[in-house]
């Protein structure tokens, strides 16, 4: 039930240990790590800069996490999101979910990522080898992914 926005990198193993150390009720831990991808184009991505809306980010991530807690029997959860300038291969985001069984841990981690992608106020700008900078556009598939968690509209 923790949310952090930070410039520094994170260590997946240390974060999981921090969440589950000394507990014997946890049977399943799922982590998702999003990383900066280069792409196949000749004009390659040299860096990615992330900005966010301080205050709203933490509030929105806490709302999303609270919604996951209501839907699944989670024993612990964590969202860490980096901001600032990142290079290809760098970590961007970490989501960790812990539950007694794997079904809840997997479903909640997917839900957190889908909602984070469409609701958390972060924006990415790509810098490329030729010096150009472009704001990353939304993937339609992210909107579709988030929509699957909503009740059918009437």
């Amino acid at each position: 039930m923790t949310v952090r926005v930070q410039a520094e990198d994170f260590d997946i193993g240390a974060e999981v240990r921090g969440l589950t150390a000394g507990r014997t009720d946890v049977g399943a831990v799922v982590t998702f790590t999003g990383t900066v991808r280069a792409d196949a184009s000749a004009n390659r991505i040299t860096s990615m800069t992330l900005e966010h809306y301080p205050g709203m980010t933490e509030a929105e991530l806490a709302r999303v996490e609270g919604e996951a807690q209501r839907r699944w029997p989670l024993l612990a959860s964590l969202i860490v999101h980096r901001v600032g300038r990142l290079a290809p291969g760098d970590n961007i985001v970490l989501v960790v979910t812990a539950s007694a069984h794997r079904e809840a841990a997997f479903a909640a981690a997917e839900f957190l990522m889908d909602y984070l992608k469409t609701r958390a106020p972060f924006w990415k700008k790509e810098s490329r080898a030729d010096g150009s900078q472009t704001w990353v556009e939304t993937r339609d598939s992210d909107e579709d992914a988030a929509r699957r968690w909503q009740p059918p509209s009437r």
Binding site: H81, K117, F122, W135, T138
Partner: protein
């Protein structure tokens, strides 16, 4: 009505500012009307809000719709669709 406005990503780059305090006339009732009113404040605003249909908004740090009323808002933010994660 006095309100704090925040701009992010390319909305911030186009308006040339990250935040400002403005006095909004009483005739401006909704988020969509606020965007239309902002467009009249200068060429940089006209440019920033030219594609108003793709701009998202938050009132007091909660996502809202263009039809949401802004009465009582302390902080309204405008930004492109989010791309975190």
């Amino acid at each position: 009505m006095s309100v704090k406005l925040l701009y992010f990503a390319w909305v911030r780059e186009k308006t040339g500012k990250a935040e400002e305090h403005v006095d909004v006339p009483a005739s401006v009732g909704t988020v969509a009307e606020l965007m239309t009113w902002l467009k009249g404040r200068g060429p940089e605003y006209a440019e920033a809000f030219a594609r108003a249909e793709v701009i998202r908004a938050a009132v007091d740090r909660v996502h809202v719709q263009p039809t949401t009323r802004i009465a009582g808002a302390r902080e309204v933010a405008f930004f492109p669709p989010v791309t975190g994660g």
